[in-house]
Structures are given as structure tokens and as C-alpha cells.
């Protein structure tokens, strides 16, 4: 008996199997399944799956032009159909494929493919393996998924390691270079989408138009860059210079404008005039036309001056000054100046090419100018006379008029200095009178020639200080000791490592002194004095004692824990027994050998310097295995005091730099993949319109498309 339900079961199982296989086969099938789902949802928004399916089937069948096949009703193959129970007849029986085949071939509606499949099934002897149970399939799936994700994630591994090892990372990672960009670079992200664009690009490619060639060769580009930079620099420098000059000029003008000193302006004018004269002289030689023009100008100014009453001491101000001039020196000077100005301006200009008689004429011409001058006063003390003097020699410039004043000042200064000197001399004489104790230095000491002589000036006898006296006393004592007791020298062996006598001037001196018999009066007495003096000064033994004490203090002590009376009799005069001492006296471990054990005349403190310990590294940092490694790694200082500037900068380079205000986006896979490819130099030159990524995208989408188509096919088969 044929049981369509069981058939359905087997079919569905087959589907299930394939779906399980799909996971293994990869992307496409997955996608196809998805597509199926999507299409179904697109078609209808019905609730029941089966109904949808039925409808779909109907629609498909109606599309076919052939006559409508009647849908065979599915019915339970049992004799008695009851709504109260399910008939379980024939449960024990197995369904043979031959049974199925027989029915299928009879039915006309069945698809050829299913028939084929059934036939194949019949031919194949082996039984189908049981599908894996849920847990196992899930495990396998998990395993596959894990592998896939690891593969996906592991491509990040390189870049991560690279970044970890990098000395410095600058965020954001892919910063765009500043400056103008080329069209190709801008266009790189854009691809042809519309058919028109595509057409155009196809044409371009087919014509082998140089789309791939960049507009500029790298060399050209570099030169362009350099040029622009240099130009920019030059331009900037120029701008800076002009700006600076402008500001200087402005500042100067402002400053000069604010200066109220008349003297300053006077000097300034004088300087200008001088310069002008110089220029004029030059002009006469080089550019006579220009000189002529200048001459004309000067003539004009002279005319103006002669016409006007300016500078003639006739104005209001001049009159007021004239009143003041009697008492005020400055007012007088001001008036003089004005007159001088008039003189200068009205003076006829001397042209070097002119003849002598002309100059004579000029002299004649100047005569009437005296009319403007104040009337000469006979009094020789009167300062106005000076004006007259200047008038007599009009060629003398303003500087010469100033000169007598400065000379006067100088005279005053000289007088002052002379006075001071006189006073000083007086004072010195007084001092000399006061100090009569001066005397010439005795020349007796200057026996030897090789002593550098100090200039022979007067010298005061100096009273010696206490200490120096002591020193000299000690010296004499020592000398005696050396003469008398050579035994002491043996003791000194501890301290002296090869005495060498210095042969020099002083030696000679001492020899001389030694020859003199005067200091040694009575040996016995003096020796006793010396012994007294050095009674407490047994320096060496004191030092040795001190050292022993230190050593003893440094040695670990025995801890005595014996208690009298425990386990035996106690009392005055009783010592704890030997076994008790052995048992309760704890010996500590011996300390390391002292640093100064081989230096008899040195005591080195064994105390640990605890103050520095808080600044020291107390635990070995991570990658290092012993202290030598770590210490060698930090042995080079990084400060500016010990290194050159460049090295300091390199050593103290920050590990991470973030650009201020820039958004730091997470890394994108394409970025570093592209980077690696371009860095390897395999990447082609810029492709107009279609870059690599776009290509890839297309491939991917096409695959997707295929997948969808495939899935649709499969769907059809199922139906």
C-alpha cells in the first residue's frame, strides 16, 4: 500500500539533509535560503505556510498552457476514517520503494525527476545513514562557525601586532595629505553606475585611451611640490619682511613724532641738510640735470625766505624772546638760531663751477642781510657779540657754533678733575703723615733667584693670626722630630706610600735654616715638650680603636635566651650550665664581609642608604629576566643635559599622537588591506572609475545574484 504521507516524510528528510549540507557548502546556499524566505514574504502576507504553498503551486500550474490537472486530494489511506481516533493500521509494515515506484509511474502528475530519484534509490543498495542528532549537528556547526570567524578575525592579527610594536602611532590612522589633489584621486571612490556612464567607460577602455596614465609623472609631481613650497617660502619671507619693515617704519615715525626735544630735531635737520649737500655734490658730478633742478628749488626757497619776514626776529615770539634774552641764556640761543636759519636760507648758493667774482658778488649780496640783525652792542661780555662773530664767518656750520659751548663744558670738567686731584693729594699726604710705621721689606729672604718677585711696593708688617702661629710652631716641632727621632718614621709606614721630597725654592730655604744652629737650644727639653703636645694625639691607635669598635658593632650578636633558675639552681655567682647555654644561645648568620677589610686606614659605613630606596626600582619589570638586563637598558640617560637635541626628541617620542579635534574612527578592514597591497607595490596605477574595491564589490554582488537565481531554481524543483 502506498502511503503518501510517508513519502512526504522521506522527501522532507531529504530537504533537511540538503539544508544541513548547505551550511557546509558555504555562502551561496545560505543566501539562497535567505532569498527563499524573502521571496515568500514578498509574495504574500498570509498566516499559514501550507496555504501559501498551495496557492503558489496553483499559480504555477495555471501559468502552464496545458490543461488543468486536477489536484489529487490527499487522504488518509485507511478504511475507517474517524474523527475520534487515528488508525494505526500497517504501522509495523515497511514501505518498499518498489511500491512507491509502482504508484508513481501510474500517476501522471508526478515529476520526472522524482521518478528518477526513486529509481536511483531503488538501484542503490546501501541504506541511508541516520541523520545526526541535534547536539552533534550543532557542535559541528559551531566548529565550522568558529573556524570561519577565526579566519575572519585572524586577518586583523598582523595589523594589531604591527601597531603594538610600532614606536609611534598617529591617530587618525589614514590622514589625508594636505594640499591639492589630483582628479584621479578624487574620482577614485566613484564608479560608473548609470548605463550611460558605463557605455562611456567601455568606449574609453576599448579605444585604449590613456586612462590609466596619471596626469603627472612622480618626478614632475615632486618637482611641482618642491617648486610650490619654495615659492611659498620665498613669498612668505617677502611678506614677512615687508610687514616687519612697515611696522618698524611706523613705530619709528610714531616715536619721532612724539619727540619734543628741539635739539633733537635740530640735529636731525642738520643731518638731513648735510646729507642733502653730499647728495647734491654727487649729483653735480653724475646727474647735472637733477642738480640743476635741485638748485632751482633751493633758489625758490631762498626767494621765499627773502620775501617773507620769517626768521627775522620780528614776530611775536621773537619779541617776547628778546625781552627774555637779557636774563635767559636759552632764549638768547633760540634767537640766534633763528637768525642763523635766516642767514643760511638767504645765502646765495655757491656753484662750484662759478667764477670768483660771482662769489664776491655773493659776499656783497650778503651784506644787506645784516640789516635784519639786532644792533650790535659794544659790551664784550654780552653774548650777542658771539652772534656777530658767527656772522663774520658765515661758512661755519651749526656744529662750529656749538663748539665753544662744549669746549667750555670740557674746561669745567677739567677744572673739577684738577680740584679732585688736588684734594686727593692733600688727603694722601695727610695719611702718610698719620702712618709713620711704614718700612721697607727686608730683602734677606730674597736669596734665591727663581722666586717670582712681586713688585717692590711698600708693605705693612702684618700681625700673624693665631692659627698661623700654631702652624709655624708645629712646623718647628716637626722639624725637630725629624732630626731627632727617625724611629717614628717606621710607624708612619702605615700612612706613607713612598715619600718624595719636593725639590724647590722652599727646600733651599729650609736647608738654609737647617744650617743655622740657632733654633736648636736643648734637644732633651724640646722633645719632652713635643711629647706633651702629642700626648693625646696618638692618631693611629685612636683610629684603629675606632675601626675595631665599628667592626664589632657591625657583627651579628648572639642572642642569649637563658633564664636563670630554670631547670637548675639559680642565684648569685651561679652560671647556667653548658647544655643550657648551647640550647638557648642563638647564633645569627654572619654578615657579609666588610668593604674596608683590606683598607687599614679607612672605615666605610655599612649602613644601607635607605633614603634612595624609595626612588629605586624594587621589582624587575616584565620582559627582563635579571637585573643586569634591566640596568643595561636604562643606563643611557634621556635628559637634555647629556644628549643632543635630536636624540632627546627621539627618545622621548610619545607612543600615541592624536590630532587635536579629529575624529578617530575605528579601523576599517579595507584600509589596511589596501595599504598592504599598495605598499607591496603590486597595486596598479590609478584606474579611472573602477578601483579595486569596486571590482570586488561587483564580483560579490554578482555572486549574490547567482545565488539568488540558484535558490529560485531549487525552489522550483521542490515544487
Amino acid at each position: 500500500m502506498v502511503k503518501p504521507s510517508s513519502l512526504q516524510k522521506t522527501l522532507s528528510k531529504g530537504v533537511k539533509l540538503t539544508s544541513a549540507m548547505a551550511v557546509e557548502s558555504g555562502d551561496e546556499d545560505d543566501l539562497s535560503i535567505n532569498e527563499q524566505a524573502i521571496s515568500a514574504s514578498e509574495d504574500e502576507e498570509g498566516s499559514d505556510d501550507e496555504r501559501k504553498h498551495k496557492k503558489l503551486l496553483e499559480a504555477i500550474s495555471s501559468m502552464g498552457g496545458r490543461k488543468r490537472k486536477k489536484q489529487s486530494e490527499r487522504s488518509e489511506a485507511s478504511v475507517q476514517v474517524s474523527e475520534f481516533f487515528v488508525n494505526a493500521e500497517g504501522t509495523g509494515e515497511k514501505v518498499n520503494i518498489s511500491d512507491l515506484l509502482g504508484t508513481v509511474e501510474k500517476t501522471s502528475g508526478a515529476a520526472n525527476k522524482t521518478k528518477k530519484q526513486l529509481r536511483n534509490l531503488q538501484n542503490s543498495k546501501g541504506t541511508l545513514a541516520l541523520p545526526l542528532n541535534k547536539q552533534q549537528t550543532e557542535k559541528i556547526q559551531r566548529g565550522i562557525a568558529y573556524e570561519k570567524t577565526t579566519k575572519e578575525v585572524s586577518c586583523w592579527q598582523n595589523i594589531i601586532v604591527q601597531n603594538q610594536k610600532a614606536e609611534q602611532i598617529v591617530f587618525p590612522l589614514n590622514q589625508e595629505s594636505l594640499g591639492p589633489k589630483q582628479v584621479e584621486q578624487v574620482v577614485a571612490g566613484w564608479k560608473a553606475q548609470t548605463p550611460l556612464e558605463q557605455e562611456i567607460f567601455r568606449l574609453l577602455h576599448s579605444n585604449s585611451h590613456p586612462v590609466n596614465d596619471p596626469v603627472l609623472t612622480p618626478v614632475e609631481e615632486a618637482s611641482l611640490k618642491a617648486m610650490s613650497l619654495e615659492e611659498a617660502k620665498i613669498r612668505r619671507a617677502e611678506l614677512q619682511k615687508t610687514r616687519a619693515l612697515q611696522s618698524y617704519y611706523e613705530a619709528k615715525a610714531k616715536r619721532e613724532k612724539n619727540i619734543k626735544s628741539k635739539k633733537y630735531h635740530k640735529i636731525q635737520k642738520k643731518g638731513k641738510r648735510k646729507e642733502f649737500l653730499k647728495q647734491f655734490e654727487e649729483m653735480v658730478k653724475t646727474n647735472p640735470e637733477g642738480a640743476l633742478e635741485e638748485l632751482k628749488k633751493m633758489e625758490l626757497s631762498r626767494m621765499e625766505e627773502r620775501m617773507s619776514l620769517k626768521h627775522q626776529n620780528s614776530g611775536k615770539w621773537a619779541k617776547s624772546k628778546a625781552i627774555m634774552a637779557k636774563y635767559d641764556d636759552s632764549a638768547r640761543k633760540a634767537m640766534q638760531e633763528q637768525l642763523q636759519m635766516n642767514k643760511d636760507l638767504t645765502q646765495k648758493i655757491v656753484v662750484p663751477s662759478d667764477d670768483e667774482h660771482e662769489s664776491n658778488e655773493e659776499g656783497l649780496e650778503t651784506v644787506p642781510d645784516f640789516v635784519n640783525d639786532p644792533e650790535p652792542i659794544i659790551d664784550p661780555v654780552n653774548p650777542w657779540m658771539r652772534v656777530q662773530l658767527t656772522h663774520e664767518e658765515p661758512e661755519v656750520s651749526c656744529v662750529t657754533t656749538d663748539e665753544p659751548q662744549t669746549a667750555e663744558q670740557e674746561n669745567e670738567e677739567e677744572e673739577l678733575i684738577g680740584e679732585f686731584e688736588r684734594k686727593r693729594k692733600l688727603r694722601q699726604a695727610d695719611e702718610e703723615d698719620l702712618i709713620p710705621t711704614e718700612e721697607q721689606k727686608p730683602e734677606s729672604e730674597v736669596v734665591e733667584e727663581d722666586v717670582v718677585e712681586v713688585s717692590d711696593k711698600e708693605e705693612e708688617e702684618e700681625e700673624e693670626d693665631e692659627e698661623e702661629e700654631d702652624v709655624s710652631e708645629f712646623n718647628t716641632l716637626f722639624r725637630l722630630m725629624r732630626n731627632e727621632k727617625t724611629l717614628e718614621e717606621d710607624e708612619e709606614g702605615l700612612l706613607n706610600e713612598g715619600q718624595i721630597r719636593v725639590r724647590n725654592i722652599e727646600d733651599l730655604e729650609i736647608l738654609d735654616e737647617d744650617v743655622d744652629p740657632q733654633p736648636i737650644v736643648d734637644h732633651g727639653e724640646q722633645i719632652s715638650i713635643i711629647k706633651e703636645a702629642f700626648a693625646g694625639d696618638d692618631v693611629i691607635s685612636d683610629f684603629i680603636k675606632d675601626k675595631r669598635k665599628q667592626e664589632a658593632a657591625g657583627k651579628p650578636k648572639v642572642v642569649d635566651l637563658t633564664l636563670p633558675g630554670w631547670g637548675e639552681w639559680g642565684g648569685v655567682g651561679l652560671k647556667p650550665s653548658r647544655w643550657k647555654r648551647k640550647r638557648f644561645r642563638i647564633k645569627m648568620a654572619s654578615s657579609p664581609p666588610r668593604q674596608d677589610r683590606k683598607l687599614p686606614d679607612t672605615i666605610i659605613s655599612e649602613n644601607r642608604n635607605t633614603s634612595i630606596a624609595s626612588h629605586q626600582v624594587s621589582q624587575l619589570p616584565f620582559p627582563f629576566q635579571n637585573t643586569a638586563q634591566f640596568e643595561s637598558c636604562i643606563r643611557t640617560p634621556i635628559g637634555q643635559t647629556w644628549n643632543t637635541q635630536g636624540v632627546v626628541k627621539k627618545m622621548t617620542k610619545p607612543k600615541v599622537i592624536t590630532k587635536l579635534g579629529a575624529i578617530i574612527a575605528p579601523m576599517v578592514k579595507e584600509d589596511f588591506i589596501n595599504k598592504t597591497t599598495t605598499s607591496a607595490g603590486k597595486g596598479p596605477a590609478i584606474m579611472l572609475g573602477e578601483n579595486k574595491r569596486a571590482n570586488k564589490g561587483r564580483e560579490w554582488s554578482s555572486a549574490k545574484h547567482q545565488g539568488r537565481r540558484g535558490s529560485q531554481k531549487r525552489k522550483k524543483q521542490q515544487t
Binding site: 705693612e460 725654592i505 624609595s614 624587575l620 638586563q629 643611557t636
Partner: protein, 588 residues
């Protein structure tokens, strides 16, 4: 190179080889390096060569003939071996075999960096163009017979003007101190006269009489301030002579030393106290009672900022502000120590005592190198930046050369007689000048070859402007070294502290005065209804008593039981295997 040295020089009797060095020429260096190159820079050179040959070959292959011009000076400019050695810091560490990746990378990168630093420093050594001066006599002429006047006449005007005398006979013997840049001079007369001078321009900055005995004068970190140890207290004045501070914590000061990088003023007093004053914050850092009597001999080791004191019993003691006892004590002389000085590198110490000996010590090993006998003894000693020793013997100042070598010297390099007894000696930094303070005033003496010719403009710039000085001051204060870091070994900081945890904890507890890890003692709560009786409290206390010990005991007991169990099992097995008696068959 040898040909360049004139032969005349070799025949002069004065120690010429050390003195006269012909100026460096670039071709000498290149010659040298060319000779050495195969040995020294084998690695790089060979690599370079290899590269070039490969290139050539490839070119040949392409074009059939070598087109490339060969660069005669290919590769980096070579650095002479001597210069490289000068800047070497420690030995290169090789990557141990079988080291892990991270370790390997760390070592390699640090080595590369230190090598780069060394190379760059050696390269920049080129920027130190100045050479030291020297004095050279004619044949059969001792250099010590050349008088200062002759030198001043022979030298150029500016150098000649560095020999001058200040006749200040009124206010007694003078102590002196030069500023760190060597431009400013501070003199203090015993009878109260204090003056500071810009000695090169002879510009008097200030002059005053403090109307008290002056024991010592010292510049502080800049020329804007100086300390004067007066009869009772320590005073600090500014460069205008204005009294800024009177530090009454520091009394009876006899000698002072200023530690420039720590901003510490160390003073030794007549009462036997060694005190440290931090001049940047004005705080007393340490006051140590040395118990050695009057301290009138003092010096500092510029290498590690340790203070050396000389004592009347012939010993010299080394002190740091962190220890109350001397770091080292050396017995140097049979008589009292009169003077001592330490060289710039902190390697040598020169002492003189009442036994009229002059001794040179290696203070890294605390071993005497040699000693010599000076008939008059040396009352003052001073070492210059380039290692010239000046000793004041009576009224004569003698300058010795090559004292710091292993061989003793026999005669002085220079000598100069002064009037009156010498009270202070100091070399001017970066100048060939020795300042002498004596009873008749001050003498500036020219000593060719005394000063370091090249200065570090970022540290001690003699030509700095006031603005630069201010900037330097700020930077120096920021880089101030803490007094805790003073010790015999200045490189201690770069070493790993090997002390055990217990020891460190003990020290920590000592420093803090309490144990930060100690647990609070258990205090039982007071309960009501008679449950807080003495007995109950005691019971509750007993519950938590010896908690740590209990843990231990519990652990040991557990271990022991386990061990017993194992043993039992083992023995059982053994029994089962080995001791099968005939009666075992009857066992069920």
C-alpha cells in the same frame, strides 16, 4: 700626524707632549679613522661595501658597463674611536641566547638608542673648538721662574689684564669665591669687608663692611645672591649688598660649600655641626653632629655632592645629608688636616696636613696614590678644572701639573710670591686664572691651562644675559636634584633595589614611625545583659586570638595528616605485595 708636530718641541725640557697639542685638522682625523676603520667599524663598513657592490653588479648586468660614479666618501662620516669612547656609557649588553621575543626587542631597541645617543654626542663633540692654554719655557728654563708680569706682558691685552692685584690691606686676609660661570668674584675680608666684583670688567657690584668677623663667603646658585658666614650667624645678601636673610639656625659657621644641582648650602661650624640649607625653599634639610670638634676644613666632591671634612686628628670624613654617621672615614695625616680638595671628576682627592705632607687619594677605592713632602706644608689647596693643583705654602703659591697621575711630581709648574699670608685659593672656572686671597688683598694670577676651554652654554654660560640667567634659573629649579639622592655612588638610582621585602618593610616602618600593614587589635563589642562580663570578653577574645598562627597550624596539621595517610597507603601496599605469609590464604 707625527710629522706635524714640530721637532723643536720634543727637545724642550718642559713636559711638552702634554702641553702643546697642534690644533686639530680635519685631514688628520680622516687619516686616523681611515686607518682604524677596518678594525672598528667593520660591521657598517662591510655592509656598506656589500650594498654598493650589489648595486654595481646589478647595473653591470643591465647595461653591460658600470655607469654609476663611485662616491669617494660613501656612507656616514666616520667617528674617531677616541671620541666614541669618550661618550660610552657602560658596556653593551648582548642579547642572551634563548631570550624571549619581547626581551629581545627591548634589549635591541635600547641598545640601538644608546648607540645612537653615543654617536650623536661624539659627532657633536666637533662643536667644542677651544683648546686649553699652556706655558712653555725656553731651553734650560723652568716654567716656575717665569713671573706673572712677564706672562701678562707676553699675552694679549685681554689675557694680560687678568693678572691684577687688589690692595686691600685694611681688612685682613681675604676669603674668595668665584661664581659658577666664572664672571663674578666674591671676596670677604676677615675684618668684615665683603665685595662682589664682575672681575673681568672690573665692575664693582657691591661693597660693604658687615662690621663683624667674616669666616667665609660663598655664591649661591646665581650671582644674585651670596652667603656670608659671619661671627655668629649665617647671612644671605643679594648682589646689591642688601641683607636678605639672617639664618639663626646656622651659628658659628666656619666654612661653606654650595651644591649647585641640589641647591644646598652645606655649612661646617665651630661647634662641630654639619648643616644643610636648601636655598630653593629656605629649609634646613639636615643637621648632623659630627662629634669631631671644630670643622674648619671642608670641600665638596662635585661628582656625587658628598661633603669632605678634615679633622684635627688627621682623618677625613665623607658626609651625605642622609646619614648621621660618616659614609667613609680615612686616616690621612699624622697631624691635623689643613686643607683638602677634590677634583672635578670625583676621582682624586688631594690633602695636606700639619705633618707637611701632600697626599693624593683615589677616592673611588679610598687608596692613597702617592704622597710628597712639602717643606712648609700647604695651608690651602685648590684643583682646577683641568687638574692643576695649586698649593699655598707660606706666602708662595705653587702650581703643580700632572699631580693626579700615578707618578709623583718633583717640581712646580708655576710659582708666585705674595705679601702676607694666604687665606683663600680658588680657580676661576673657564678661565686660566687663579684667585688668591691674602693678607694684603686679592691677587688674580694667570695660570695657563687651568680652565676648561669649552663651557656648556645651557648650564654655565659666562656670557649669558640676565634674561638667559632667569630662564636658566627656572630650568635649574625644575631639574633640582633631591637631597635624598646624595650618596657615594651617584648611579645608585639606576640600579634595582635588591633588598628583601622584610628589610624594606622594616625601613619603611622606621621611616614612618608605625607599621602600615599591622592589623588593628581586636576589640570585643560591649554587650548587655551581663554578657560583657570580664570572663565573656576574654572568651570572645580567645576566639580570634592568634588567627594567623592558627591558619598556619591548620595547614601544617592538614599536611601532616595527608602525609600520614599516604605513608599508610604505601605501607599497606608494600604489605600487600611483599609480606604474604602462608597464613594469608586463610584470610577471607
Amino acid at each position: 700626524m707625527a710629522a706635524l708636530v714640530p721637532e723643536v718641541l720634543t727637545s724642550t725640557h718642559v713636559e711638552k707632549m702634554n702641553k702643546k697639542k697642534p690644533p686639530k685638522r680635519y685631514w688628520e682625523e680622516t687619516e686616523n679613522t681611515d686607518q682604524r676603520r677596518p678594525e672598528e667599524e667593520q660591521g657598517t663598513a662591510v655592509q656598506n661595501q656589500n650594498k654598493s657592490t650589489v648595486k654595481e653588479r646589478s647595473l653591470k648586468r643591465k647595461n653591460g658597463e658600470s655607469l654609476e660614479k663611485k662616491d669617494p666618501f660613501s656612507g656616514e662620516a666616520p667617528i674617531p674611536h677616541k671620541q666614541l669612547q669618550k661618550f660610552q656609557r657602560g658596556e653593551k649588553y648582548k642579547v642572551p641566547a634563548g631570550a624571549r621575543q619581547r626581551l629581545k626587542e627591548a634589549i635591541i631597541s635600547s641598545e640601538a638608542m644608546s648607540e645612537l645617543a653615543q654617536k650623536q654626542a661624539a659627532r657633536y663633540d666637533l662643536l667644542l673648538p677651544e683648546d686649553a692654554g699652556f706655558l712653555e719655557g725656553d731651553e734650560d728654563e723652568d716654567t716656575n721662574t717665569i713671573s706673572q708680569d712677564d706672562i701678562a706682558d707676553a699675552a694679549d691685552i685681554t689675557s694680560g689684564s687678568k693678572y691684577f692685584n687688589l690692595h686691600l690691606s685694611q681688612f685682613g686676609p681675604y676669603r674668595l669665591d668665584y661664581g659658577r660661570t666664572g664672571r663674578h668674584l666674591l671676596v670677604g675680608g676677615k675684618k668684615g669687608h665683603v665685595a662682589c666684583i664682575d672681575w673681568q670688567s672690573k665692575d664693582l657690584m657691591c661693597e660693604m663692611n658687615v662690621m663683624e668677623t667674616v669666616n667665609d663667603v660663598k655664591w649661591l646658585h646665581t650671582e644674585a645672591m651670596f652667603a656670608v658666614a659671619q661671627k655668629r650667624w649665617l647671612y644671605i645678601y643679594d648682589s646689591k649688598g642688601l641683607e636678605l636673610h639672617c639664618v639663626k639656625k646656622f651659628n658659628d659657621v666656619l666654612r661653606m660649600q654650595f651644591l649647585p644641582y641640589h641647591f644646598l648650602l652645606a655649612t661646617a661650624s665651630a661647634t662641630g655641626f654639619l648643616q644643610y640649607l636648601d636655598v630653593s625653599v629656605g629649609k634646613e634639610i639636615a643637621a648632623i653632629c659630627t662629634k669631631m670638634g671644630r670643622l674648619d676644613v671642608m670641600s665638596q666632591n662635585p661628582h656625587n655632592a658628598v661633603i669632605h671634612l678634615g679633622h684635627p686628628n688627621g682623618t677625613i670624613s665623607l658626609w651625605s645629608p642622609n646619614q648621621k654617621e660618616p659614609l667613609v672615614k680615612i686616616l690621612c695625616h699624622r697631624g691635623a688636616v689643613r686643607s683638602l680638595t677634590v677634583d672635578k671628576t670625583g676621582t682624586y682627592m688631594v690633602t695636606s696636613g700639619l705633618d707637611r705632607k701632600l697626599k693624593v687619594y683615589d677616592i673611588r677605592a679610598f687608596k692613597p696614590l702617592h704622597s710628597c713632602f712639602l717643606p712648609a706644608g700647604a695651608s690651602c689647596l685648590s684643583l682646577s678644572q683641568r687638574g692643576l693643583l695649586s698649593a699655598a705654602t707660606g706666602d708662595i703659591v705653587q702650581v703643580y701639573q700632572n699631580v693626579l697621575g700615578s707618578s709623583p711630581v718633583s717640581k712646580p709648574y708655576m710659582a708666585h710670591r705674595l705679601q702676607g699670608q694666604i687665606w683663600g685659593l680658588a680657580y676661576c672656572p673657564f678661565e686660566d686664572v687663579l684667585g688668591i686671597g691674602h693678607g694684603e688683598g686679592f691677587t688674580s694670577m694667570i695660570v695657563p691651562g687651568a680652565g676648561e676651554p669649552n663651557f656648556d652654554a645651557l648650564d654655565t654660560n659666562p656670557f649669558r644675559s640676565s634674561k638667559q640667567r632667569q630662564e636658566w634659573e627656572v630650568k635649574a629649579l625644575l631639574e633640582k636634584v633631591q637631597p635624598e639622592l646624595i650618596g657615594l655612588d651617584p648611579g645608585q638610582l639606576s640600579k634595582v633595589d635588591q633588598a628583601s621585602f622584610e628589610q624594606r618593610h622594616k625601613e619603611h616602618v622606621e621611616a614612618l614611625g608605625f607599621d602600615p600593614l599591622a592589623k588593628d587589635k581586636f576589640k570585643p563589642k560591649t554587650k548587655k545583659k551581663g554578657r560583657s562580663s570580664a570572663g565573656a570578653i576574654e572568651k570572645r577574645k580567645r576566639k580570634v586570638a592568634h588567627e594567623d598562627q592558627r591558619d598556619k597550624i591548620r595547614q601544617t596539621v592538614q599536611e601532616r595528616t595527608e602525609r600520614d595517610k599516604e605513608q599508610k597507603e604505601k605501607s599497606n601496599e608494600k604489605k600487600n605485595l611483599g609480606n604474604k605469609s602462608t597464613l594469608d590464604r586463610f584470610r577471607k
